[in-house]
Amino acid sequence: MYSIDPTLRALRVYIATLAVLFAVLVHSAGAGAAEIAPLINALAQGNFDDREKAIENLAATGDAGVAPVLEALDGGNLYLRKTDGSVWIVRKEGDSLTLVDPRSGAAAGAAGADEIEKIKVNNRLRRAIDAALGSLTLLSGDVATRLNAAQAVFKSRDPTKIAAIEKAIAAEPDAGVKIAMEQARAAALLTSDASDDIKLASITIITARGDREALELLQSLADRSTGPVQTAALAGAHSIASELAAWDAAQNVWYGLSLGSVLLLAAIGLAITFGVMGVINMAHGEMVMLGAYTTYAVQNAIRAAAPAIFDYSLLIALPSAFLVAGAIGMLIERGIIRWLYGRPLETLLATWGLSLILQQTVRSLFGPSNREVDAPGWMSGAFDVGHLTITYNRLWIIVFALLVFALLTIVLRKTSFGLHMRAVTQNRAMAGAMGIRTPWINALTFGLGSGIAGIAGVALSQIDNVSPNLGQGYIIDSFMVVVFGGVGNLWGTLVGATALGIVNKLLEPYAGAVLGKIIVLVLIILFIQKRPRGLFALKGRSVEA
């Protein structure tokens, strides 16, 4: 036996006391942390059953701060440090691993790959994590997060969430999120074994939601229930279905309007060169293409020189595209078309040749691949009207097409240039005799039509690929619009473009995109048999000219 030095024993007692004191101090300083820390560490212990229990315990704390831990676990970034059994989030940067404190998010130095071990999850744990995150985020401080959580519960229809969501509803300050949460609760109640009365009330709430998910939920409910619940579910599903059908039709009409506005933009310049002047310009599509490439060039220049005004790049591109396409149009008129007046078939061939040259020029200058044209902030995004989703760029293009149309009508009707233009197209010789410089008017008219095609290109660059083939896709459609609407009449072009757009989109759900397009082409061909001069035919002497 050996005796212990009394001083040494005293020191030991002292140290032990200090340690206890220290532990007590630490504990009281981070009360929440100490409650949760063992729960987090439990994630690494035991088998999958134990870990599932640990996840549920974490979720039960209702502390939004554990969400990152669960997310890390789900993403495979949560590790166990073998030396002390503590759990850390690990950030990987290249080969180095950084330990991050799961509670505070503070970095706590590097770790070697052999010191730590990944905490494994299986699909059952992932489901538990999702559920836990769902109920945790219901109480998050962020409105969007809470809304998403409510939608997630609605989709999962998990009856175990009822308690959590009721707690969330009681605490919810935002009216919109509250409605979403109530719908989520109703969905969860419908899958639970609640009484019929509660279910009937829930069906009312779900029916009020009125979207596709609600429809699906009610249909599946009707399949597996009986009695008054089934009747109510069927009635609710029916009312949602008929409402949705109406919204679908409205959505198609909206798409049709959008397509119509694109057709209008592409065709309205053609309505001037072909409709008013009688010149078949097969290079019209290439004018649109040039407008789109001008937009690309302008955006590049702005990005390089003055990035601050990038949001206004389209406003700068509009006049630029008008000038570029208009100037090229006037060159074409002076160089080629004026020699071919009265020979429409030859004009067609020459301008076709020109379109090939323009395409190849652009291909040689900018390359054959698609160019990126960015949308300014005010043109991106979307908003909902009922069950319609309306994107800003489509809306702006409709507004823009109507503006261009209105502007052009005013130019043709109210300005002296418009007057001269109409005079020349109605009777060239007499217009010349009255002192109008007809060659000049021809060039300006063709330039106007081409310039408008150019600004159509600015708009189309927002919704279509900017490639050398951009124009080709529109040329046949544009001719169809002008021929259908009636030559020499801008209103015909407006009505023709809108009608073709809407008919096309209404046919699409039944016939498919390609077949729908073929049907529209055949319909136009048949229509032209009936009214060879289009919807709004010119009457009187100018018809045969």
Binding site: I357, Q360, K517
Partner: protein
């Protein structure tokens, strides 16, 4: 009077032209088959297929010229008739593959097996027999031309309206044939042909025979066109071209004349397509592309519309330039083609043959081909 002198002009050159075509049709296959590959005069199978392709194009150009040069109908959709004839032949060739396809299905072509089709669609029946396919090569394009023409000519759709409608027709067909569920092979079309009438399509003898058939059909097409334009009917056609309303007021049923020549032309285009497919070994929906049809028009314009030998010469010249340029300087081809469209319409409206025929030194009686400007003035004056 214009027409008479014009026809006289083409008649003069008719026999030498026929002789050249037939000599070519016999000589090139012989040079390919008889001479050893080492001989300097040997014609490789590539060249045989290439010139055979040109001959098919020449027949197509002749068909377009018949409607455009002689009747004033600028069809921008003749590629559709060509492609339909080609598809009819392609369907026959697909059926001949039998069980030698990738999936070894004796009844269904590969693409149908691939798409899980259980049985042959009804419109494929009969295409395992050559006579039926050969009939369809003429009947299908002819029927389409009859339908389009019947609707268009009766309601007096003329000029550029007609051109745009024909273009829309071929565009619609292109979209339709791109669809897989049409049952014509969709995107990829038909290819991997094995044999025709029991002979291997790749074999030298078959190639030579196909070449001869192309030359013979071109000669036959030329003779038919020659007979048509030199008949009373042909004179009415020219009258319709130059002054449609006047011809109508004189009591001619203009739409019937137009319909006849349009259908005839479509049948010729269909035959050209049917001969084209076994020689190039593939047919796919891009043959329907509107751009192809317009290209045919420029062959006719270059050679000289309103002459019978011009289109053939134009087709060969332009396609030779295309083969050369797309190989040597690929970017230059579209510039050249585009420039050709502009230059020919501006500076050479009568085409090569028409311009040569109009040279004043050749004869005392000047063969005066069509004057496009004059025709337009006549039309405008009505």
């Amino acid at each position: 009077m214009i027409a008479a002198s014009l026809l006289a002009g083409s008649e003069r050159r008719a026999w030498p032209f026929l002789a050249i075509i037939l000599t070519l049709g016999i000589a090139i296959p012989l040079l390919h088959l008889v001479l050893p590959p080492t001989s300097p005069l040997y014609v490789s199978s590539y060249i045989v297929a290439l010139i055979g392709k040109y001959l098919c194009y020449a027949l197509l150009a002749l068909a377009v010229d018949l409607v455009w040069g002689y009747c004033g109908i600028l069809s921008l959709g003749h590629g559709a008739f060509f492609a339909l004839g080609g598809y009819a032949m392609g369907m026959y060739l697909m059926r001949q593959i039998g069980s030698r396809g990738v999936y070894g299905n004796a009844e269904l072509p590969d693409f149908m097996v691939f798409l899980n089709w259980q049985e042959l669609p009804w419109y494929w029946y009969g295409f395992d027999r050559f006579w039926f396919a050969a009939l369809m090569v003429v009947v299908v394009p002819g029927t389409l031309a009859f339908l389009v023409g019947w609707f268009a000519f009766r309601s007096r759709v003329t000029g550029v309206y007609l051109s745009i409608i024909t273009q829309a027709v071929t565009f619609a067909l292109m979209l339709a044939f791109f669809r897989n569920d049409m049952g014509f092979g969709g995107n990829n079309g038909m290819t991997d042909f094995k044999d025709i009438l029991g002979f291997n399509v790749q074999a030298g003898g078959t190639r030579a025979a196909l070449f001869f058939a192309s030359a013979a059909m071109l000669a036959l097409g030329f003779l038919v066109a020659h007979a048509v334009v030199n008949s009373r009917l042909g004179k009415v056609l020219v009258a319709v071209r130059d002054a449609e309303s006047r011809a109508r007021f004189l009591g001619y049923r203009v739409e019937n004349y137009k319909l006849f020549v349009f259908v005839l032309s479509a049948c010729m285009a269909g035959i050209a397509g049917a001969l084209y497919v076994p020689q190039v070994g593939i047919i796919n929906p891009s043959e329907f592309a509107p751009a192809n049809s317009i290209e045919v028009v420029i062959w006719v314009a270059v050679g000289g519309r309103g002459t019978l030998i011009g289109p053939a010469i134009g087709a060969v010249l332009v396609n030779f330039a295309k083969s050369y340029l797309t190989g040597a300087i690929p970017e230059a081809w579209l510039f050249a083609l585009g420039g050709l469209f502009i230059a020919v319409t501006l500076f050479l409206p009568r085409g090569i043959v028409g311009t040569i025929a109009a040279l004043p030194l050749r004869r005392r009686v000047i063969a005066k081909p069509i004057e496009p400007g004059a025709a337009a003035t006549a039309r405008a004056a009505e």
